[in-house]
């Protein structure tokens, strides 16, 4: 069962929810931090690194002797990684998504692959919970391929909690795609509601069943609840705005360990989400 924790807005509590749900579930759970631009799940756990690998993308290399300057490769590339200006095509490796299309479309066989490093994937073990995260190299703006490399480490037999990057652009889509269920975390504020609506639109487009958790309940208004009611969106639970939670977070501690009563809250929440996810899966 793969459950993605996502949100339109940043800072709503995706990581708090993902990490605490994973540890509430306990051993044999995989926690997959898909925010490769700023992985942070590891800050909340004591873990031992068990594996690290470098991730590369295949980018084109033009053989100038074989190239007939037809420009097909540049016209094919959706990302302007190749520019044909009447001469030998120029390669912009930083734009390349590594799809390999240019190599296939070139009838001259003038394009070969070179590997471009984009980041690393690391695995950690913490009392039987496996954390996998990716770390994009500085200056690289190519999150989705690295997120996909992180997700390759998923061992689907047990519970998998994916911590998605914020927003509704390609990295968030890459993280959520293929999940069995999505939990959208929001806060009860106008910003939270606005970005929740965007995240709902993204998740519906992807066709993944989802529900909502309100974090920091009590700080704003009831418009998120009303929105969920009107849209028939399942609202799982509310995590109260609690200074003790913020303090534990700032010390890098698990809320379920540091604040009395929260282990029960997260175990209950996990049960509800697992039930909904199982039902959602059955519907598909």
């Amino acid at each position: 069962m793969k459950i993605a924790i996502a949100s339109g807005k940043g800072g709503t509590g995706k990581t708090t929810l993902a990490v605490n749900l994973a540890f509430a579930a306990g051993a044999h759970t995989q926690l997959v931090d898909c925010d490769v631009e700023e992985p942070n799940s590891h800050l909340f756990i004591q873990a031992k690194r068990v594996a690290k690998e470098v991730v590369t993308l295949p980018v084109p290399l033009i053989n100038e002797e074989l190239c007939i300057r037809c420009g097909k490769c540049a016209r094919f590339c959706e990302f302007s990684a190749l520019a044909a200006l009447g001469s030998i095509p120029m390669v912009f490796p930083e734009m390349c998504h590594g799809c390999g299309g240019c190599m296939r479309i070139c009838e001259q066989g003038a394009i070969s692959e070179v590997r471009r490093r984009i980041g690393t994937v690391e695995s950690f073990d913490s009392n039987g919970v496996t954390l996998v995260h990716g770390c994009l190299d500085i200056g690289v703006a190519m999150a989705p391929p690295l997120i996909n490399a992180v997700k390759k480490q998923i061992n689907a037999s047990g519970l998998v909690i994916l911590d998605a990057p914020p927003g509704t652009t390609c990295p968030a889509v890459a993280a959520v795609k293929g999940a069995d269920y999505v939990v959208l975390v929001t806060e009860p504020t106008p910003f939270g509601l606005n970005d929740l609506k965007l995240a709902v639109a993204m998740t519906r487009e992807l066709g993944v069943p989802f529900g909502v958790v309100i974090n920091r309940a009590g700080v704003g208004d009831d418009k998120v609840q009303r929105y969920c009611e009107n849209e028939s969106i399942h609202l799982f639970d509310e995590i109260p705005d609690d200074r003790r939670v913020a303090e534990a977070y700032s010390r890098g501690e698990l809320i379920i360990d540091a604040v009395p009563g929260y282990r029960e809250l997260f175990v209950r929440l996990l049960d509800k989400i697992s039930e909904a996810a199982a039902a959602g899966k059955a519907e598909l």
């Binding site: 990302f79 520019a83 044909a84 200006l85 009447g86 120029m90 734009m95």
Partner: protein, 119 residues
């Protein structure tokens, strides 16, 4: 020689748009016939990335030998110069005045990108 000006306008009295990759239009002025045409570039206005490269391809296809704009990023600079297109960065507002500055030699071609990508 054909000179391309980045602009949102339709004639020589229009202002120069300071962006190259995301310029709404290019005004292509032919220094021999003294005639000009205006070419739409709006498909690049909303491109997530690669706008500079796409715009450089458009400029080369239009046969321009020079570009007059506000700023030019590194990828566009690389693409344009590889095709032999000169780049003139200027603060001059009107196309007319900038054209005069290029023709009189008051403006000199850039020797490097003058801004970072996505400025």
């Amino acid at each position: 020689m054909k000179i391309a000006f980045t602009t949102a306008g339709v004639d020589l009295a229009s202002e120069i748009d300071s962006r190259f990759g995301r310029a709404p239009k290019f005004l292509i002025f032919d220094t021999e016939s003294r005639a000009f045409e205006v070419v739409d570039n709006s498909q690049n206005l909303n491109a997530a990335q690669g706008a500079g490269i796409q715009s450089a391809e458009t400029i080369v296809k239009l046969g321009a030998n020079a570009v007059v704009t506000g700023h030019c990023g590194p990828k566009a600079y690389r693409a344009l110069t590889s095709a032999g297109v000169k780049i003139y960065n200027t603060e001059i507002k009107s196309i007319e005045a900038a054209l005069q500055a290029v023709e009189s030699g008051a403006l000199t071609p850039a020797t490097d990108a003058d801004v970072e990508g996505h400025w």
